[in-house]
Structures are given as C-alpha cells and as structure tokens.
Symmetry: C2
C-alpha cells in the first residue's frame, strides 16, 4: 500500500510524503530562520522536531543541532547515512499510522506551519557556484546561432563537461525581483560599444545540484562515488543578458551577462526522493576518458516547464516544455570532473546543469534558442516576444510523475523590473 500521511495532501501537490524536500523558512517576520520540510500545504519545522527529541536515530540523536541552524549546510555535511535517517524518521513521523505527532496537538501546532504564512529563504549558504553546459541540444543551438551551422559544437564538448565559475553573491530565492542589468553592448564589428539597459534579457531553464560532504583540496572524488556528495536538486533560472554576454565573453567567458542575478527554487528535492524516477542517461559517443566512465550512468525523468506572464496579463503562456533526462553529461560526471584537478567542493556548493534544452523546438530552454536570437519572435497570447520585457514574470516548474502522486520542485519565479534610471 502506498505510504500516506495524516497531513492531507492533494493528489496534484508537489509535496506528498514521498517527497519531503528541505528548505529554510521564517514562521513570522521576527523569527529566526530554521530548516523545514514541505508536506502538502504545510512546512514541518525541523527545529521543533529536534527540540522534541524525535530525531532519535543513531546518527541524528547526537547531531540534531544541525536543525537549529539558519541554513542546511551543517546537515548537508553529515552525508547520506544522516540524510537517509532523517528521511526515514520524518516519513514515519508524518505517516497516517504513527501517533507521535498525529495525536500530539501541542507539537502539531508548533511544528506544522501553513506554507502560505511563512517566508522562504535561501536554504543554503553557497560558498561557490559552478555552472555546467551539459545539454547537447543547447550547445548545438548556441553554436549554430553564434558561429554558424558547420561544427557548432566545439571539439572539447564531447570529451568533458564544460563549465564556468558563476557568481555566488547574487543567487536569490524564487520570488525576488530581477532588476534589468545595464552594461556594454556592441551591435556589430564596425560599431563602437554603447552603454545602457540590456536589450536582450533572457531566462535559462536549469536545475542545480546541491553538494553535501565536500572533498579535501587535492583529493578528487571518484565518479562512482560522486552521488554520495550530492544532497539533492533545485530548479534554477540563470538569467542572462545576451548582448552584454556576447560582447564580454571572449576570451574569459561569461561575467556581467550572468552575475546580476540567478534564481533558485526554495525546496531541495533529495536524490532519495528522486530515485524512483531515475532513467538511463544518453549513450556517450565518443566514450569518455576513464575518470568519467561510470559504472551506472543515470539521469532523472523530471518534466520541466517555463511560463511567462507579461505585465498586466491575466494568463501565463507556456514557452518551454523540457525534461532533465535530455542532459548528456550526468550530475556525477559533472562532480567528478570538477574535482579531478584537486579542486575542493564544500557543503552547500551549487552545481548548475546549464540550460536544459531537448531535441524538439518547444523544448528549447531559453529565448535565445526559441526566437533564434530574436529573429523569430514568440507570441504570448498575441503579444510578441524576442527577449524579456519589463514586467514579465518567468516561472519554472518541475515534477516527476509517480503512481498516484508527484515528486515536485514547486516553482522558481522572478519578475523583471526596469533598470535604474
């Protein structure tokens, strides 16, 4: 029989007892942040569960102070055995058959907080943020747009998961407005650069892995052990100013075209919750070098959707329908590659996948691809879009379809507000 909670969960909810994603929240404006897990329309306050002594497994009974922290980093550092124990404790505690929380009105009152009453915060302190480039379809489309249809994908792409270091300070939580960045653009090779608000503001549909235990500087992580260093996934919008990016990125890569803001969803869905939705990753040809050749190469079947709601519009329009399973390089290959030179990862580090485009035109994960760099505007309920306009609200959602339930990520959204004068 399917696992069921005494907390009522609508069948369409992203947060049934099979999910239990982790976040950080404030129950009220004056209260300190604390970790929680989402279930239905509630968040379970883990600091209250810890204070009640209910994390009584062998690992967490002595380490449940990690649930009195303002972020999840300390919990992440504990590693998979602690994560499994927490999941099993919480699934039992929330199940319909278990009286400990169900029949304790006082504890229920304190620890089950309506989601619509809380403020959600960044769940982790992010030391370093890395962004990969792992969709072959995205690499091919971008290459074709910028360098033409002959050899659109650079020769290194099939041998290593390409990535760049991103900006950690400007990562914001879903719901934060994004101010249109200003910067330099350069319309053509004969022109002088101009300065002003970006004219080619874009979203990028991504997901990101949250690193659990890190590795010591100089000690790479084996690709077959890399999964133990990944706590879970979030949705991510890697906002991009294409005009700023195009002018600045030679030879050192993206900088100000990206660093004005990156939005993540508030709930981290664990690899445990995603495991039933794992699927084979694409076959890699050429075969990767040994340090990237993993025994089991897996992706997850996560349906992803992007909607845009223009200012004043009643309805959103779906602009992208994609899936995590389209990624060529797996999360574990990304992590192993990241550390192969000895680079150290730390708990809470964020590894973005890069834009998740699929093979079909409707699955392209950004406006650059969907409008072919502005040449083929989209229609949003009758209004045209080459790139994002002020007032546009972009929302990414994602979920896995289970048997009678979803394991979902909630939403990752942000609204574009005008540049400074």
């Amino acid at each position: 029989m399917a696992l069921k909670s005494f907390v009522e969960v609508h069948p369409d909810s992203h947060f049934p007892i099979q999910n239990l994603p982790y976040g950080v929240f404030k129950p009220g404006p004056g209260s300190p942040p604390r970790p929680g897990v989402a279930i239905g329309d509630y968040v379970v306050d883990l600091s209250e569960i810890a204070s009640a002594g209910l994390f009584d497994g062998p690992i967490l009974k002595n380490s449940s102070d990690c649930f009195h922290e303002p972020n999840l980093n300390k919990f992440l550092a504990l590693g998979r055995p602690a994560w499994k124990e927490a999941r099993s404790t919480l699934q039992k505690l929330l199940s319909s058959a278990e009286p400990a929380l169900r029949d304790n009105a006082n504890l229920r009152e304190k620890s089950l907080v309506p989601l619509n009453k809380v403020e959600l915060l960044l769940p982790i302190a992010i030391g370093d943020y890395t962004d990969f480039f792992s969709s072959m379809y995205h690499a091919k489309n971008c290459g074709t747009i910028f360098r033409g249809p002959e050899n659109p994908i650079p020769p290194n792409w099939f041998h290593l998961p390409i990535a760049y270091h991103g900006r950690a300070s400007s990562i914001v939580i879903s719901g934060t407005d994004i101010i249109r960045p200003r910067g330099q653009g350069h319309p053509s090779s004969n022109s002088l650069p101009y300065f002003g608000p970006s004219l080619k503001l874009d979203y990028e549909l991504e997901m990101a892995a949250i690193v659990g235990p890190g590795n010591e500087l100089g000690r790479p992580v084996d690709v077959n052990e890399a999964a133990d260093h990944i706590f879970g996934l979030v949705l991510m919008n890697d906002w991009s100013a294409r005009d700023i990016q195009a002018w600045e990125y030679v030879p050192l890569g993206p900088f100000l075209g990206k660093s004005f803001g990156t939005t993540i969803s508030p709930w981290i869905v664990t690899l445990e919750a995603l495991e039933p939705f794992s699927c084979d990753a694409p076959v890699q040809d050429p075969r990767p070098l040994l340090y990237l050749a993993e025994k089991k190469s897996q992706n997850y079947d996560i349906s992803l959707e992007v909607q845009i709601k223009p200012a004043g519009a009643k309805d959103s329009s779906v602009v992208t329908r994609s899936n995590f399973k389209h990624l060529y390089w797996t999360l574990t290959q990304q992590l192993a590659h990241h550390t192969i030179n000895g680079c150290n990862l730390r708990p809470g580090d964020l590894l973005g996948t890069g834009t998740i485009s699929g093979p079909e035109p409707e699955s392209y994960g950004c406006l650059l691809e969907l409008t072919w760099n502005g040449q083929k505007p989209l229609s949003l309920n009758g209004t045209g879009r080459k790139f994002l306009e002020d007032g546009d609200e972009v929302t990414i959602t994602g979920y896995c379809k289970g048997n009678g339930y979803n394991v979902g990520f909630g939403a990752c959204s942000g609204k574009i507000v005008p540049s400074l004068p």
Copy 2:
C-alpha cells in the same frame, strides 16, 4: 621627522610603522585565530589591544569586537572611517613617543608576538573571487602566442576590464604546497585528448584587492567612490595549468586550469599605507565609457619580483621583475565595472588584477610569456625551465620604496609537489 616605533624595525623590513598590514594568526597551535598587524619581526595581537580598551576612538570604542573574530570580514565591513581610526590608534600606540604600550610590560608581553612563532592564516573569509585581465602587455603576449601577431588583443579589451569568476574554495595562504593538477590535455587538433598530470604548470604574478563594504544587489558603485570599497592589497599567485586551460576554455573560459589552487600573501597592505606611492595610471585610448571615466585615475608604484627555487637548489633565480603601475585598468575601474550590472560585492571578496606583465621581456609575469609557451626555455642557474617542475618553489615579493623605509607585502610562496599516482 619620520614616524618611528619603539619596536625595533630593520631598515630593510617590509613592515615599519608606516605600513601596519593586517593579517590573521594563531599565537600557538591550540589558540583560536585572531587579527593582527605586522611591525618589524612582530605581530600585534589586536584582540589583546581591544581587550585592553585601547581602541578608544569614536567608531571602534563600540565596535572593537571585530578584533575578536577569526577573520577580518567584520572589520572590513566597517569602512574607511573605521580603518583610518584603527590605523591612527595603532600608529600612536606603537610610536616611540607613546608610553601606553611601550611602558606596559604585561600588555607588551601579551600583545607583541614574534612573527616566527605564529601560524598565519587566510585573513578573510572569501565569498567570491574574481580575476581580471588588466595588463595590456599580458593580453598582447597571450593573444600573440595563441592567436598570432595580427590583432592579438580582442576588440573588447580596450573598452572594458575583462574578468572571469574564479574559485574561492581553493584559495590558500602562502606556504601551502600546490599539488600538480591532473586533467585533460589536447596536443593538436588531430589528436585525441589525454589524461594525466599537467605538463605545462605555470605561475601568474598578480595582486588582488580585498573588498571592504559591499553594495546592495542592483546598486552599482560609482567609479569615483569605488576606492572606499577597497580595504587593501595582497600578492597573489594564480597557478595555471596551461595545457588543461587551452583545451577547456572555449567557449566558457578558464575552469580546472586554475581552480586547483590560488595562493595569496598573508598580510593585507591598506590603501592608506600605499597612498604615498600612488602614481598616474596609463592614459587610456580609446577613452572609456562614462561609467568607467574616473576623475583621478591612479595606480601604485609597487616593485614586484618572482623567484623560483628548484628542488635541492641552494639559490633562487629571479625570473620576473615587474611593477603594479603597468596595469592599464585601475582597481577602481575594475570594481565599478564589476557592479555596473547590479552585481553585489561583499566584504572579503577578492578581486585579482590578472597577470602583471610590463613592457620589457624580463617583466613578463608568467612562464607562458617568459618562455613563449615553452619555445624558449629559461635558465635557472644552469637548469632549463619551460614550465614548473615538481619541487620548484615559487616566491612572489613586492614592496614600495619610501624615504628610509619600505612599505612591503612580505612573500607569497608555494612549492609544487607531485601529482597523485
């Protein structure tokens, strides 16, 4: 008459009373880290000075708890008025004419610790590390080596200070061994990539600015106010694996070719201490866009030197003699550009200058340039060097020559140890 301390300082010392650079140290193996300033062969324990109530100026009398922290970030966040006050308090306290510390044997014993007895640590918690590319000579040499002598400098270079996000987790303090990184290389366009220890390991002579007060996300810093966001400078060695870098960097920039380690010197020399050594920055042609056009465009006259000491050698050989004043883009332009898109900086962020090469061949700031990508080996006391070999110890030093004293940075060194098997 020149300011003089009751602490004896050798005329060749980098740390006279005119300098007073900030660091973080442990007086003994078991003791907690705390901030200090260097003077002669001693470090002044600022936690002891604070506990003694000697920071009695209007700002620090209520904020001297920043000197009981394990890093300088809280002090950096206070801003220039607090920094000026601390400097003036410490210069007075250490001066030969002032009895408060000079004649208090107990306090002197507690607060003046011999430098050779302490462990120096990273002085700041670094949220984000950015590396610029601000030497025209370096840009020109690299462009010529990789793309040929026609148009070696990309067209954007003269319009904006190009930069990339670096890896914060692998920044280490001077004296830390550097393990030769492993990774993919790609000898020629007809070959398959190979995997192994880097064959083209290099140093890069750089300096880095330490950010003081940050800016809010979405609020750029005006170029004419940018100096107030910079606390001071350190020496930096941006170790680079040229073979890994050359294969991976298209199209998203340097990643594993750099992220295995970056060494900084332990002492942050403040802009106040450097002010007597300021000089005009090079004239910029074309004139930069308005947001980069500063009223006063200044560099500092800092002599820089790199030495290599091979394993078992008695002596080091000087391989680079350069100067900070050669940089085309100023620190303030770098910082203003970094924030123009709204990107937020935070106290303790590190802004590297990029390799500081000058016009003369002996001033080239890395082996890539000095040996012209291995084509013209250097001679180190008779042994040839194309790139760094295991056991090589690389030491960067830098100082400003005053009238009868130096304002120096001490040393930034690291030794190459072999790759993992």
